[in-house]
C-alpha cells in the first residue's frame, strides 16, 4: 500500500488534484519517517467504511422500542446501555440519549466543529460539518428541517442540542405506527441516520426498503 507512495511527484500524477497530491505526499513523509504504520491507516479506513455506521444506532433504537427495561437504561446511562450491544469507543465515550415524543422533537448539532457519536452513527455526513447546518439549526431549526423535507406541528417543542463538550447525543425517534409485533431487525430498517440526528423521523412501514 505504501511503497508506491514514496516517490510521488506532481508530474507522476497529472490526474490528481492538489489536495490529493498533498495527502499522498504527507502520507509518504509520515511513513518514511516512521511516524505512522501504513497497515494501521488501512485498518482505520476499513473500520469506518465497513464496520461502524448508522446501522449500529438503528439497532440501539429498535431495541429501545421493544424492550422497556433497555429503554430505561438507555435514557439513564446511554454509554453503558449502548455498550451492551457492543458499541463503544472513540467519539462515543460519553453518550446521552434524547427521547422524541409526540410533543417534543430533539435535534443535534455541533456549531463549533463536527462532534458526532461515531460508534452509533459512523462518520458525520458532509452537511452536518458544513456552515449552513451549523449556523442555522440553533436559530431557525424549522427552516433547517424544511430543507430535509420535514415539517413538524406548530406546537411541537424543539430542543436543539449543541455538542460543545465531550458528550455525544443520540436522538431516539418515535416508533412508527403500524409496526406492532415487528422484530427488532425489521424495526431497525425504519431507523434512518437522520432520524437519530433529529433532521428526520423514522420511516413508515410503507417507506421501508423491501
Amino acid at each position: 500500500m505504501s511503497a508506491h507512495h514514496h516517490h510521488d511527484h506532481d508530474h507522476d500524477h497529472p490526474h490528481l488534484s492538489p489536495v490529493e497530491l498533498r495527502v499522498r505526499a504527507l502520507e509518504s513523509v509520515l511513513v518514511e519517517k516512521g511516524y505512522v504504520d501504513p497497515a494501521a491507516l488501512d485498518l482505520i479506513v476499513e473500520t469506518y467504511e465497513t464496520k461502524i455506521g448508522p446501522r449500529n444506532g438503528a439497532r440501539v433504537v429498535a431495541k429501545s422500542w421493544v424492550d422497556p427495561a433497555f429503554r430505561e437504561r438507555l435514557l439513564k446511562d446511554a454509554t453503558s446501555a449502548i455498550a451492551e450491544l457492543g458499541f463503544s469507543g472513540r467519539q462515543g465515550e460519553h453518550m446521552v440519549a434524547l427521547e422524541n415524543t409526540a410533543s417534543r422533537h430533539n435535534v443535534v448539532v455541533c456549531t463549533l466543529c463536527s462532534c458526532y457519536p461515531w460508534p452509533v452513527l459512523g462518520l458525520p455526513p458532509v452537511w452536518y460539518k458544513s456552515a449552513p447546518y451549523r449556523s442555522r439549526v440553533v436559530i431557525d431549526p424549522r427552516g433547517v428541517l424544511a430543507d430535509f423535507g420535514l415539517t413538524l406541528p406548530k406546537d411541537t417543542e424543539i430542543r436543539v442540542w449543541d455538542s460543545t463538550a465531550e458528550l455525544r447525543y443520540l436522538v431516539i425517534p418515535m416508533r412508527p405506527e403500524g409496526t406492532d409485533g415487528w422484530s427488532e431487525e425489521r424495526l431497525a430498517d425504519l431507523v434512518t441516520r437522520d432520524s437519530m440526528i433529529g433532521t428526520g423521523v423514522a420511516l413508515r412501514p410503507d417507506e421501508a426498503k423491501p
Partner: protein
C-alpha cells in the same frame, strides 16, 4: 477564539443540501485524511482539544471555503510542523529532507481496533463539589479569549437553566494549550429561544450547550 468555526446563529450560508445516499468518503484522499489524522493522534503528541484549536485558528476565509477534511489536513500539517516532525517543504517534496525527533508513540495496526474501541474518555475524578445544581439559573460569562474555548459566542452573556450536572471533564481552554487538563465540572445548560435570539424567536425553541464551570456565574 472568535474564529470562523463559531458559526451558531449566523445567516447567509444558504440552505442545507443533504446528499442522497452519501458515501462515507468522497474519494481516496478523504480516506487517507481521516486515517492520517487518527494515526497521528496516536503519536501522543497533542490533544483533541489542540486539534480543534489548530482548525479554528486557520484563516477565517480559508476555513469557510474549504471542506472539513481539508480543514483537518491543514490542522494536522500545523501540528506536525509545530512539533518539528514534518515541515512544509517535505510535504511539497513528498519525502523526508531532514531528521526529526521521535514521537512518543506510534499507533500500530494491531492497536487500531482496541484503541478505537477504548476511545479517549475525558471525564476525571471530582475533587470539589459542583458549584451549581440542576434547575439553577446561571449566566454565561462574557469572554473573548484569543485562545481556545468551547463557549460559543451566541451563549455569552445569556442566562440559562442547568439541565444536568454531567461530571468533571478535562477543560479544553487549558488542555488545548498544553497547560494541563485542569478538569472542571461540566453542565448541560438550556436557553430559551427568546433569551438567545430575541422576541422574534420560535416560541417552541430551546437550545442547550454543554458548559464548563469557569464559563458560568450565578444569575440573579
Amino acid at each position: 477564539m472568535n474564529g470562523a468555526q463559531d458559526l451558531g446563529g449566523m445567516t447567509g450560508f444558504g440552505p442545507v443540501r443533504p446528499e442522497q445516499n452519501e458515501p462515507v468518503f468522497h474519494g481516496e484522499w478523504e480516506r487517507r485524511a481521516l486515517a492520517l489524522t487518527l494515526a497521528c493522534n496516536g503519536m501522543g503528541e497533542w490533544t483533541g482539544d489542540r486539534n480543534r484549536f489548530e482548525r479554528e485558528s486557520l484563516d477565517a476565509v480559508w476555513y469557510l471555503t474549504h471542506s472539513y477534511y481539508e480543514i483537518w489536513l491543514a490542522a494536522l500539517e500545523k501540528n506536525l510542523a509545530r512539533k518539528g516532525f514534518v515541515s512544509a517543504d517535505e510535504i511539497a517534496e513528498g519525502r523526508a529532507l531532514r531528521a526529526s525527533p521521535p514521537a512518543k508513540k506510534k499507533l500500530m495496526a494491531a492497536e487500531v481496533a482496541p484503541s478505537l474501541a477504548a476511545g479517549t474518555p475525558y471525564d476525571r475524578p471530582a475533587k470539589t463539589p459542583a458549584l451549581f445544581k440542576s434547575g439553577e439559573r446561571v449566566r454565561c460569562k462574557t469572554i473573548n479569549p484569543p485562545t481556545h474555548t468551547r463557549l460559543p459566542r451566541y451563549a455569552r452573556g445569556r442566562v440559562g437553566v442547568i439541565e444536568s450536572v454531567r461530571g468533571v471533564f478535562a477543560f479544553p481552554d487549558s488542555n488545548a494549550h498544553e497547560k494541563g487538563e485542569d478538569p472542571h465540572w461540566c453542565y448541560t445548560l438550556r436557553f430559551t429561544g427568546w433569551e438567545l435570539w430575541g422576541e422574534d424567536a420560535d416560541p417552541t425553541l430551546s437550545v442547550t450547550i454543554d458548559a464548563w464551570e469557569p464559563y458560568l456565574e450565578r444569575a440573579p
